[in-house]
């Protein structure tokens, strides 16, 4: 066999499939005619392929079509047009609008999910406000957004980053804006979720439908929270009489938002988990009968039992507007410009929120510190000029990553001790100089100072005021240490060193950020004020105090066995 034979045999497929033309084909055919081996190979090759091609065709089982149609008609599968509706909508939209809608939908899912875990309509406690009625709508978003939304956000396609620290916090970052007057109107009319700013305080109206027939909105929220799969295969309402309902045309964004999570859709088979979650998350309704009816409605059945049909229909009718209105309300609440959502955990959410607030206000922004829905949770709404946004985020994250309540208390104690020590030293100095001053007649001012010094420490056997302060400071430090020790599994002297360093870095960060802000402000003097953006910081109460998380992280990284290859 020659090299030519190899090349010829490599072209057998082309020859068989008629892909060789003209001279190439002639050359191959001539070689086959002249070479007995290749002729034999060619015959064998042609025979083998011919045998494959000669295999009889099989018919599909007669039941195949029926099975598919049954599956489709039974509503177990998604209507064909549902998913592409979303695509068509977004294709027709400018990119920013489409992106906005996607994020709004994601936020809606997040908010829905949060509603399933928290009591609906719990009023907010306004500690500070930013004196802007427009900003009040942001509080609704904060009210609804949940820490557990991280998973949901991922499911909804929102980037989730761990920007604050491995053990201390996680962050959900998303960008999006939604202004939908129709949705807002719908929310107002249906749910009363309108948020009003009165007298500088942010208040949230109770949902108008709360306590009415049917389960709490959270019941449906859990069902509405669906992953990207569900989003991409949006489901229509149950078909009447098991028929098909094609959307008459591309739905409005609001309708798309209400349809997308597939909340009006009975879930069965593989989707049963959502129903189970919905049931599990359902808040107690007024009566058990209503709850049962609502749950039944969630698991809509093709053939309800006699006598139940009307009840189920009523429950469904009652549910659907609430679900739709809730999403619409969420979209409306998110209107404005939430530029960033940062989620964190802390043993002392109030302290951390206050620090974040101070840091932001020091940069020229305003911050509203609000109570979270869970006891101890806090939320900070930051409103800051767009040009300062990055620095505000940096400052916020710096606070989130460095704040430690135990160290904070200890630090205050230390500062107090320093202050009182300074007072004591000053008094001592005056005390020492006073006798000399007394000798200088005419030194009335110095004499007065000396007298004052003696008034402070007239009797060294008695504890002067400065000393009392010192003792209180020492007590504070001790209490702080106790608190820290209580939270730590094993006291570690290394912790104090690391945390002190963290504290210094934190102060340096803030100082640097403030300097940059001032520099920018000087440069921008006279320029037109930029648009404000909003940052929401959600701080969850941490169950267990972990005062040494940074130090733990540092030690963890130092361990050779935990190093990532």
């Amino acid at each position: 066999m020659t090299n030519d034979c190899d090349k010829i045999r490599d072209s057998f497929s082309d020859l068989l499939d008629g892909l060789l033309e003209g001279g190439d084909r002639d050359r191959v055919m001539k070689h086959i005619a002249d070479c007995a081996d290749c002729a034999k190979e060619w015959a064998s090759f042609k025979s083998a392929v011919g045998a494959v091609r000669a295999l009889p065709k099989s018919h599909a089982p007669a039941s195949l079509k029926d099975a598919v149609m049954r599956e489709i008609v039974a509503g177990e599968t998604t209507f064909a047009a549902a998913a592409p509706v979303r695509k068509r909508i977004f294709r027709l939209m400018p990119l920013p609008v489409a992106a906005t809608l996607i994020v709004a939908l994601g936020m809606g899912l997040i908010l829905l999910q949060s509603g399933s875990r928290r009591d609906a309509g719990k009023p907010l406690l306004a500690m500070k406000t930013d004196h802007s009625s427009d900003k009040s709508s942001k509080s609704a978003a904060m009210r609804e957004t949940d820490f557990a939304a991280k998973t949901d956000a991922e499911a909804a396609g929102i980037t989730v980053t761990d920007s604050v620290g491995k053990s201390e916090a996680s962050a959900v970052s998303g960008k999006g804006y939604m202004a939908e007057p129709a949705a807002e109107k719908l929310a107002d009319e249906r749910l009363g979720l309108k948020v009003a700013a009165k007298g500088g305080e942010i208040t949230a109206a109770q949902p108008k439908l709360a306590g009415k027939a049917g389960p709490q909105p959270g019941t449906y929220a859990a069902k509405g929270a669906a992953g990207p799969d569900s989003l991409s295969t949006a489901q229509p309402p149950p078909p009447a009489a098991h028929g098909f309902q094609a959307p008459a045309g591309p739905p409005s964004p609001v309708i798309a938002a209400t349809e997308a999570p597939g909340m009006n859709r009975p879930t069965s088979g593989k989707g049963g988990g959502a129903v189970a979650r919905a049931k599990k998350a359902a808040a107690p309704s007024e009566t058990k009968a209503k709850e049962t009816a609502a749950n039944e409605a969630l698991t809509w059945r093709e053939t309800p039992k006699d006598g139940e049909a009307q009840q189920l229909d009523q429950a469904q009718v009652a549910l659907a507007p609430q679900q739709q209105a809730r999403i619409a309300a969420n979209i409306a609440d998110v209107r404005g410009s939430i530029s960033e959502i940062i989620v964190a955990e802390s043993a002392d959410p109030s302290g951390l929120a206050a620090r974040v607030s101070r840091a932001v206000e020091g940069m020229g922004g305003s911050a509203a510190v609000l109570q979270g829905r869970e006891d101890g949770d806090m939320r900070v709404l930051i409103d800051i000029p767009a040009r300062q946004k990055d620095m505000a985020v940096l400052a916020t994250r710096s606070q989130l990553s460095n704040f430690n309540p135990a160290l904070e208390t200890e630090s205050k104690g230390a500062a107090l001790a320093d202050q009182t020590g300074e007072t004591g030293r000053t008094a001592q100095t005056i005390r020492q100089t006073a006798p000399a001053a007394r000798q200088e007649k005419g030194g009335s001012r110095v004499e007065q100072m000396a007298q004052n010094a003696f008034d402070i420490g007239e009797d060294e056997d008695e504890a002067p005021e400065g000393q009392a302060i010192e003792e209180r400071a020492a007590g504070t430090q001790s209490a702080a240490r106790d608190r820290k020790d209580a939270g730590a599994a094993k006291p570690d002297p290394e912790t104090d060193v690391v945390m002190a360093r963290v504290q210094r870095l934190q102060h340096d960060n803030v100082r640097n950020i403030r300097s940059r802000y001032l520099a920018n402000q000087s440069a921008d003097d006279g320029a037109e004020a930029s648009e404000n953006v909003r940052i929401v910081v959600l701080i969850r109460k941490q169950e267990t105090v972990r005062p040494t998380s940074k130090a733990d992280d540092a030690r963890q990284e130092a361990k050779p066995e935990t190093k990532q290859e």
């Binding site: 392929v49 494959v52 008609v73 047009a81 998913a83």
Partner: protein, 193 residues
């Protein structure tokens, strides 16, 4: 006077309007092709039926996403190809049985195969068994290409479209697969000769 058969495009348009009967017609039109493709790739009639059912359901779900860049058949064949791969990955199909049809048979004779001697088209059941065994012995990716080209008769460009492979890769892999088939079937061919 009978009305002409609706085209795939007309049926698809009706489907998009929410008419499931039109989709039923599309199923009737292509179910044998899809079933055969799945059967050739999987080797098990039961699995092939399951996959064919899943393919049409998937097609219905994403029908409005079908842009018409390729033919409907190519599109559902692509779904079939991907579904078969997905089944294999999930381990849903553990074995490859040699498919042998019943006597009352859902088989029909292949015909109109270009480049193949008509005398070869009549295969005994034993020969069919051997050929199918040879196909089943191919590596998965090679077998899929043989099925698409030599059983379903798709063009190389269509195969490239279905598989997502470059045209040259399709050609070279298919040729290797055919050579392997030749090696496997050569002894039987010699016996028959």
């Amino acid at each position: 006077m009978t009305s002409p058969e609706p085209t795939d495009g007309q049926l698809l348009m009706n489907c998009r309007r929410g008419d499931p009967r039109s989709f039923g017609l599309l199923i009737e039109r292509y179910q044998d092709r899809i079933y055969n493709t799945a059967l050739g790739m999987l080797g098990s009639p039961e699995d092939a039926a399951d996959v064919a059912q899943e393919v049409f359901i998937k097609a219905w779900r994403s029908l409005a996403g079908f842009r018409g860049d390729s033919s409907f058949l190519t599109w559902v064949t692509r779904i079939t190809y991907n579904t078969v791969i997905s089944h294999r990955r999930k381990g849903g199909i553990q074995t490859q049985s040699l498919w042998i049809e019943d006597d009352d048979s859902r088989e029909e004779k292949a015909s109109d195969n270009p480049g193949v001697d008509p005398a070869d088209e009549s295969l005994s059941r034993e020969a069919q068994q051997r050929v199918r065994a040879a196909i089943a012995a191919l590596p998965d990716d090679a077998r899929r290409l043989v099925v698409l080209r030599d059983i379903e008769g798709m063009e190389y460009e269509e195969i490239a479209d279905v598989t997502g492979l470059p045209l040259g890769t399709v050609k070279s892999r298919l040729h290797r697969a055919r050579m392997q088939l030749k090696e496997t079937l050569e002894p039987y061919a010699a016996e028959n000769a």
